[in-house]
């Protein structure tokens, strides 16, 4: 399996009014991508298409910035999309059980995406700073320790 892990594109900070009215979690969930964040991520989507990845299944966190990043990835999705609660929490078996197919993409958040990579590769540390809109490509079997890092792509490299 090829697994594409995207950190969400740059988003606006949480609205303090929403935080005061509905709580910090609600305000965090409502953070939208900034116009600049969208602009920065679009070349990444084109690059993923040029690299020949055809995503069978796109799983994304339910938080707005991840949903909006997933929407930008739709041009490279040939299968289905699904909202995945496990991408907004520390990774575990429930997430790994959903990794089925030849080419799957995830859109999520740090630090959980990094923990997902560590879980799947068995690596103690990633050794990279995963910037927003960045991509890590894994290959192998989607079980703990069953994958290896095939590529790391920063959005700065694909403008």
């Amino acid at each position: 399996m090829t697994l594409l892990l995207f950190r969400h594109a740059p988003a606006a900070p949480a609205d303090p009014d929403v935080a005061a009215a509905a709580g910090a979690d609600t305000a965090d969930a409502a953070r939208a991508l900034t116009p600049r964040g969208r602009r920065r991520f679009k070349p990444m989507v084109r690059a993923v298409g040029r690299m020949g990845f055809r995503v069978e299944r796109l799983l994304h966190s339910p938080l707005r910035r991840a949903v909006e990043t997933a929407e930008l990835l739709v041009p490279v999705v040939e299968g289905t999309t699904a909202v995945c609660a496990e991408l907004a929490a520390p990774p575990g078996e429930a997430l790994l059980a959903q990794l089925q197919g030849e080419c799957v993409a995830l859109v999520g958040h740090e630090p959980w995406l990094g923990e997902t990579v560590r879980l799947l590769t068995g690596a103690a540390s990633l050794g990279i700073r995963w910037c927003k809109g960045g991509l890590v490509v894994l290959e192998g079997q989607p079980v703990a320790g069953g994958m290896r890092i095939a590529a790391v792509v920063s959005p700065r490299w694909v403008r």
Binding site: A29, A30, A32, L58, H60, S61, P62, L63, R64, V67, A70, E71, V74, V77, T80, T81, A82, V83, C84, A85, E86, A88, A94
Partner: protein, 217 residues
């Protein structure tokens, strides 16, 4: 000019999930369809597969709720009641999954739809309905028209446009849908003549009301 908000339908979906009566299943399916229409008008693809998943999870329960509302001989009633219980248990299982909860969280973050964008999305939907080629003798094709018709109706309601011909057509095609449901679920109890009658009535309704659809543009 104010934008269109999804909140009322997300609240309706949330409320239908919290209830356990038969109408709740119907309300859940309607809410998912209305939200799907909203997202289509916004040009959004993500979350629509999740809505379809939820709607399909509720489909067997709704079908059996409809069938159980009819009079049946005792053995058939027992069989349908058993199937209905299983279908509702399957639906309850789907609604308890993290995916269902995550879908509600994600829908709460969908931004308002600018009215101008929604208005621009309506005429192509209506044109697609008007120009869809359908064999009036083929229940599957007529059903496809009904699905499209329902979507156009929800879009019209979102925009506060008149819906009279759409509602009348949907009622006429709904009778056909009930007949098809019976053929699918209990073919031994279904009458081929009734299905043909329903197809003829649906075609007559289309011939009568379709010319009025142009006025909705």
């Amino acid at each position: 000019m104010s934008a269109l908000r999804l909140d009322p339908w997300v609240q309706a979906l949330r409320a239908s999930i919290a209830r356990t009566d038969a109408e709740a299943v119907h309300d859940l399916r309607v809410a998912t369809r209305r939200i799907d229409t909203f997202l289509r008008m916004a040009g959004t693809r993500v979350l629509r597969d999740d809505l379809r998943w939820l709607r399909q999870a509720a489909g067997p329960a709704r079908d059996l709720d409809v069938l159980c509302g009819r009079p049946w001989p005792e053995p058939t009633r027992r069989l349908l009641d058993e199937r209905r219980l299983c279908a509702h248990a399957d639906l309850a299982h789907a609604l308890a999954t993290p995916r269902a909860g995550a879908l509600l969280t994600a829908l709460a973050g969908v931004p308002p739809l600018p009215r101008a964008k929604a208005r621009a999305a309506f005429p192509p939907m209506l044109r697609r309905l008007r120009t869809l080629r359908v064999d009036p003798a083929d229940p599957e094709q007529v059903h496809r028209r009904r699905r499209l018709l329902r979507r156009v109706r929800y879009a019209a309601e979102l925009l506060h446009r008149p819906t009279d011909p759409l509602v009348r057509l949907q009622d006429a095609l709904g009778a056909l849908s009930d007949s098809c449901l019976l053929h699918r679920a209990l073919p031994e109890a279904a009458s081929p003549a009734a299905l043909q009658d329903a197809l003829r009535a649906a075609d007559a309704a289309w011939t009568r009301y379709a010319p009025r659809l142009k006025d909705l543009e």
